[in-house]
Symmetry: C2
Subunit: 349 residues, 2 copies
């Protein structure tokens, strides 16, 4: 919500924070026992609010005024766009987790695409170095990466990269249980820009009265059909949705439709044998001019093998130019990054 | 050659610049026709001097006061350490190449490891952003990358990443010939730090009178036995060598032996089916505490398949911890980056 010489601008690009805690010694910890009031207070530091809530037996899903928050027993995910400050709530998160018996952080991932307008962000998000500096004050031995071309289309990541447990500074880690590395785990993100304006026009109050109508018109509900959808159409425009299924998996879509700075993000941890179909489905739904894909997958996940398939299969799509593809091998995860733009002589997907 | 509060320091970490030109329209161009005087004048801008010279039918090899320069018909390689300024000679290089009929740059690679003391470098080398900014003024559409963990052990690369020809701003590119993508081409670099001081003590005038004696004592001449070696032992310490063979391949080794900032670099474009043996040989020769490897290989090269082998084979060496491994797919090349450190409980290779 920034005004500058170019007029109204909104940064759709989200900051994504994911934290995993080691099992509590008593084995009774559960982040979902944290109260609504505590979450609301925590989100004050981020500068956003809860606007809707759904849950099932495995996961709580909060729709926020700027994107989403997902809470599982030991895993917390916060994704916020605009000029929000998600890193500023980490102190509160660690305190609330401690009250649940969670004293040890086993994994942390902080990531984002390059901002369209970094100059309108607030501290500590005015640049990736500042974000890393802030995270380094809270966590030991984090590592930071830039995938893609620096200063162009790129994606930043801060993460623990060692399999050993990371202890909070004031905590003795000896009784903590090492995260089960055989449990399949994966996250796919598709971050899209320069989107088709016919599609984008659906995410406006001038066209539809609520999120459900916009989702049906654009086919969003078909992307992962087993997801229970909670969505919201903003006034005058913009769309957010959370989906959760009975296996505890989530999906989330956030749309900034304005032509000058259109942006759509898709994210899910759904366990699929092949992500190529999903990527194609998302791309055909939103019709971006450029997009990037990241896939995190641990070695026992089906997605691990899909990486190589994607490399050959997706790059042959004739309307797309692959500008970058990189793979990082971390101790417990592999990460695939790819960035595509529509070829200049092509106009349809 | 910088003095600061910590006493004497020398930056062994090199800046590596490689430029390929498109075949000249007359087909008569040859960078090796550039005169010694012209090279000496060019190297004034870098702030280094020629100290030795060898050649064969395919390649000219210059040993410099700070590292090396290799000149083939269409390819130019400059590698310089210390506080030299290699980017500052690019204008001269393009002018000298033009006089040989080379008007189109097809490929450029500028790379370096993170400096140990970036604060003692001179413009435009005071940071990677400054280097990129400088290169962007000379070349269109370059892309820049950081492999490894930002602000820790990392390796920077600026490169053209498109297969299309890159024209110099004042040149019409239409008659230029596209580089033959089926010609095998590869470069391996092994950059080592925290080296064994018994090995390093050999690269000192107090122990040996010339480079040949130091090379024999440490086994350098066995690393790639078919190379004709031209080497130099600096006073009081330090070692540089160029090797060239009859296939036009080169190798080059540069050693900064001082314990406080020990550094050894190995580089070669030798075409091998398997780089694992070569890496092991180099590591066993110099015994570093940490090292990084980069391998550039185009798809028709044997080295391309070696990448995957390296990933599994080398990481199982029990005394080494792999901190990072990344792979980048460029249009014509694949790049492997890996960074290792000796495990804390191991004392031998």
């Amino acid at each position: 919500m920034e005004e500058n010489n170019d007029g109204y601008f909104f940064e759709g690009v989200e900051k994504l924070l994911e934290v995993w805690f080691a099992e509590s010694s008593a084995g009774t910890g559960d982040l979902r026992n944290i109260s609504r009031l505590d979450w609301e207070n925590l989100l004050c530091h981020v500068k956003c609010e809860i606007i809707s809530f759904t849950k099932n037996d495995l996961i709580d899903a909060f729709l926020l005024s700027e994107s989403s928050m997902f809470v599982s027993r030991r895993r917390w995910i916060l994704k916020t766009c605009g000029t929000t400050t998600p890193l500023k709530c980490l102190d509160q998160l660690l305190q609330l987790a401690r009250e649940q018996g969670y004293t040890v952080v086993t994994d942390i991932y902080y990531s984002r695409k390059n901002f369209t307008k970094p100059e309108v962000q607030n501290a500590p998000h005015r640049g990736f170095y500042e974000e890393v500096y802030y995270l380094d004050t809270l966590f030991p031995e984090g590592r930071s990466y830039c995938l893609g071309s620096i200063n162009q289309e790129c994606w930043y990541l801060y993460t623990f990269s060692k399999p050993e447990l990371k202890a909070l500074p004031d905590v003795i880690a000896e009784e903590a249980i090492i995260k089960d590395t055989t449990e399949p785990d994966q996250t796919i993100e598709i971050l899209m820009q320069n989107l088709d304006q016919d599609v984008m026009s659906c995410f406006s109050k001038s066209k539809f009265t609520n999120g459900r109508e916009a989702a049906i018109a654009t086919g969003i509900q078909h992307i992962l059909p087993d997801m229970l959808i909670d969505d919201f159409l903003f006034d005058p425009c913009g769309y957010s949705m959370n989906g959760i299924n009975e296996r505890g998996e989530y999906m989330t879509i956030h749309i900034t439709p304005e032509e000058k700075f259109s942006y759509v993000s898709f994210e899910s941890n759904v366990d699929l044998a092949n992500y190529t179909k999903l990527i194609n489905h998302v791309i055909k739904t939103f019709k971006p001019g450029k997009f990037l894909v990241t896939i995190f997958a641990n070695k026992s996940s089906l997605a691990y093998e899909t990486m190589k398939e994607l490399e050959s299969e997706y790059s042959t799509l004739s309307n797309w130019q692959r500008n970058d593809m990189q793979c990082c091998n971390f101790p417990l995860y592999n990460l695939l990054f790819a960035q595509y733009s529509r070829k200049l002589d092509s106009s349809s997907t």
